[in-house]
């Protein structure tokens, strides 16, 4: 029977990559000296599984590499070898090599052989001094050749005396005889001399012994292979005998082929060129699937109930109908939540690479850094997570390169030698917040200001508040690092970071206290597909304002409205002046007549800037599914998408940042936000 096991390769790849991650994380926890048992066992198991799977699924390259790795780890595990920093570094490199190998095998491309060989040689050197350059032949190949040992020409006399306990290992003598029979003609003679009287007989003990004669040109190895599993559990003697002349010689004897064919086939299975079977898959917790199925079940029940109601409906059943519809609504909401949660993954998937990165960078830069992470189980949409990786990476690199000082400088500043880098993820009001904070030198206000003046971003005599100064680091081409290092400092970065985050409908802010560190705060929506919206009415049109953007809604007090610089209007909101936009004017929609006092002002915030929107009325709040305007129509400034309301009409979803831009463009004037605005456009 031909069984195609290539179908399991994808699973093997996924599991191996996961294994590598575990391995890496554990390696980073590994202390020098004698390792913690569980940690080293975990590392060993990962290598071990990969070796076994590699061989089974036909990746010999992987097997021979992991073999060396496993042997080395085994020595550490058994305490025969101490763990050194050097060994940890080498093992981490081995993890990288394996990752590369897996990627190449998965893609069906060539493995980076020089790199593999180099690390493998180093591992071998570490393993037990200089060894033969050729690695151990991949497991299995050794047995691939047919046994060449001379067979007994006639056959074998076999004396088989099991120990009394042999049965308790599950080895049945009958099985052994059956197997021997496949090698040649077998005669069996039982020896019952040890059999006690029935009353004394213990049914679990083996009292029997056998004398066997196997006729055939079979070699010793084949015979003893049959008894492989019972070695030590029996007394076995094999005596060859010559073939009687009269029998006509070997040709007529059964071929030894059948028993060995299995062994010989090892290694024959050739790997087919890798097919592009990579799917953009997601691993989902079974509990989530169960919840989904459960909800669908309830939905079916509700549907059945409503159908039943339809037959012979009259007004007396109105209450029942209402209940049914309520239930339907509940089911729908639950279903939506369940489906959404399937796309949600713990953010640890994005954070897991940082321990290694921090370890490596710290060594490279000669800095001591301790990384702590909190909230790694916080769930986030898969798409958002994929895109947040790079910006986070950038922030972490920056923190190590520019934020945390070298040990000497830290000591001088009276801080502990080891710097702290903290990654913290948590939910806050429908958004996920990720903080990257360090206890390094903090942002240098004077340096940033000097640079900004050089670039003409800030006037010579202006002294903007700290927040605005720090915000300048998000400008394109703005870097205060004196030397451009390999790690960061090319001035491409923070602006890209902000743009990437903005593309995810998120924001990034920086807070810094000179001398005691910097904190970057990223806010991201939980998902990109659905948002909580506030429905607003402007004339006869309905628009949706994302709830997260709304700061407050106020009744308009016309005495607080001030028109400045000709056209643009500001509203005094407590101590702030905020620009206001009449949505009707902006979208050329006839707003309700009547005084402004009858209208409402919705204050929305975007990137730290507030703006007031004048609307006629607030309608309900609801979750809306975002439909892209760009794919269905075209991009419109001030509108981030559209949705379909319950009554079938299309409503536009407003984008506060875009509205701000649009309003200022229309007004064509400065309202004191111009600089921020330029920054935005540059970004």
């Amino acid at each position: 029977m031909a069984i195609d096991i290539t179908q399991f390769r994808q699973v093997f790849f996924e599991e191996s990559l996961e294994g590598l991650e575990t391995m890496e994380a554990s390696l980073l926890q590994l202390a020098e000296g004698t390792p913690a048992e569980e940690t080293i066992n975990t590392i060993f198991r990962a290598a071990h599984s990969m070796k076994g799977g590699g061989g089974t699924f036909g990746f010999q390259e992987l097997t021979s590499f992991t073999h060396v790795l496993e042997s080395l780890l085994d020595e550490m595990r058994s305490g025969r070898r101490l763990v050194t920093q050097e060994a940890i570094s080498l093992l981490l490199q081995a993890v990288d090599v394996l990752r590369g190998m897996l990627a190449a095998l998965q893609a069906g491309t060539a493995i980076d052989q020089p790199q593999v060989t180099e690390i493998q040689t180093q591992l071998e050197a570490l393993w037990h001094g200089p060894v033969e350059s050729a690695p151990h032949p991949p497991a299995g190949l050794e047995r691939a050749g047919a046994p060449v040992l001379s067979p007994a020409s006639g056959g074998w006399h076999i004396a088989f005396h099991p120990c009394p306990t042999m049965l308790q290992t599950g080895n049945d003598p009958v099985r052994l005889f059956r197997e021997l029979e496949t090698l040649g003609t077998l005669t069996v003679r039982v020896d019952m001399t040890r059999l006690p009287a029935l009353a004394e007989l213990d049914p679990e003990t083996c009292y029997l012994a056998w004398e066997l004669t196997l006729h055939g040109a079979v070699c010793r190895e084949q015979v003893s292979a049959v008894f492989d599993w019972v070695e030590g559990d029996c007394a076995l003697s094999l005596t060859p005998f010559a073939a009687p002349q009269a029998s006509g010689g070997a040709p007529g004897l059964p071929s030894p082929e059948p028993a060995m064919s299995v062994e010989r086939r090892i290694g024959l299975e050739r790997r087919q060129p890798a097919v592009a079977t990579e799917t953009n898959s997601i691993r989902v917790n079974i509990a989530k699937i169960d919840a989904l199925i459960n909800t669908v079940g309830e939905l079916v029940i509700t549907q059945a109930m409503l159908s039943q109601l339809r037959d012979g409906f009259d007004m007396r059943h109105l209450d029942k109908l209402r209940d049914g519809l309520d239930q339907l609504e509940r089911n729908t909401r639950e279903l939506q939540e369940s489906v959404m949660s399937i796309r949600m993954l713990p953010i640890s998937f994005a954070l897991n690479r940082f321990p290694r990165l921090v370890h490596d960078l710290g060594q490279q830069l000669g800095k001591k850094v301790q990384l702590t992470m909190a909230g790694a189980q916080t769930e986030i949409d898969k798409t958002v997570m994929e895109k947040i990786g790079d910006p986070l990476m950038h922030l972490v690199r920056n923190a190590l390169d520019h934020g945390i000082e070298p040990p000497v400088r830290r000591m001088e500043a009276g801080k502990p030698e080891t710097g702290c880098l903290h990654l913290h993820a948590y939910h806050q009001g429908g958004a996920i917040v990720i903080e990257v904070s360090d206890d390094g030198a903090g942002l240098n206000r004077d340096k940033i200001l000097r640079k900004a003046r050089e670039q003409g971003l800030v006037g010579e005599d202006e002294t903007p508040p700290d927040e605005q100064v720090y915000d300048l680091i998000f400008q394109a081409g703005f870097s205060t690092a004196e030397t451009i290092s390999e790690i960061s400092g090319r001035g491409v970065g923070m602006d890209v970071v902000r743009r990437n985050i903005k593309n995810l409908s998120g924001t990034i802010d920086v807070f810094s206290a000179g001398g005691s560190g910097t904190t970057f705060t990223i806010r991201l929506p939980l998902t990109l597909a659905i948002l909580d919206g506030q429905l607003v009415r402007v004339g006869r049109e309905t628009y949706i304002v994302p709830l997260v953007a709304i700061v407050e809604s106020v009744q308009i007090d016309t005495t607080l409205m001030h028109t400045v610089a000709g056209q643009s209007t500001l509203y005094k909101l407590r101590d702030d002046y905020i620009p206001i936009v009449r949505l009707g004017d902006l979208f050329c929609v006839q707003q309700d007549g009547g005084a402004d006092t009858e209208k409402l002002l919705i204050v929305v915030e975007s990137a730290g800037q507030k703006i007031g929107l004048i609307v006629d009325a607030l309608l309900g709040q609801q979750q809306v599914v975002i439909k892209s305007l760009e794919t269905n129509f075209r991009r419109i400034e001030g509108v981030s998408g559209a949705t379909i309301l319950g009554d079938g009409t299309v409503a536009l979803i407003l984008d506060s940042a875009g509205l701000l831009r649009l309003a200022q463009y229309r007004a064509g004037t400065s309202i004191g936000l111009q600089r921020a605005e330029t920054a935005w456009q540059a970004a």
Partner: protein, 120 residues
Amino acid sequence: MASILAVDDSTSMRQMVTFTLQSAGYEVMEAQDGEQALGIAQSTKVNLVLTDVNMPKMDGIALIRALRALPHYKFTPILMLTTESAPEKKQEGKAAGATGWIVKPFNPDQLLATIKKVLG
């Protein structure tokens, strides 16, 4: 048809083993580690146990020992899936009561041949 309990912490291995055995008509139950396997074994009787050695929680050796202590598993064939680099594991397994072993890497044909050999 005979029932088999396949124990391995590696999903790909387990799937491959299960698929192979099921294609040959065996009824297969799966467990991810020794603990889970023991739980299954305590409540049902299978005709053969096939276990990996290196596993988290309870490893293969400990599982074999625990299974042999169960009255209904005293004589059940238990095969270890082991790598060649660990000959001492075979001995350890035997001492714990393993019937035999299958050396990794193996292909489906070898697996089936060995299982057939044991189950007849």
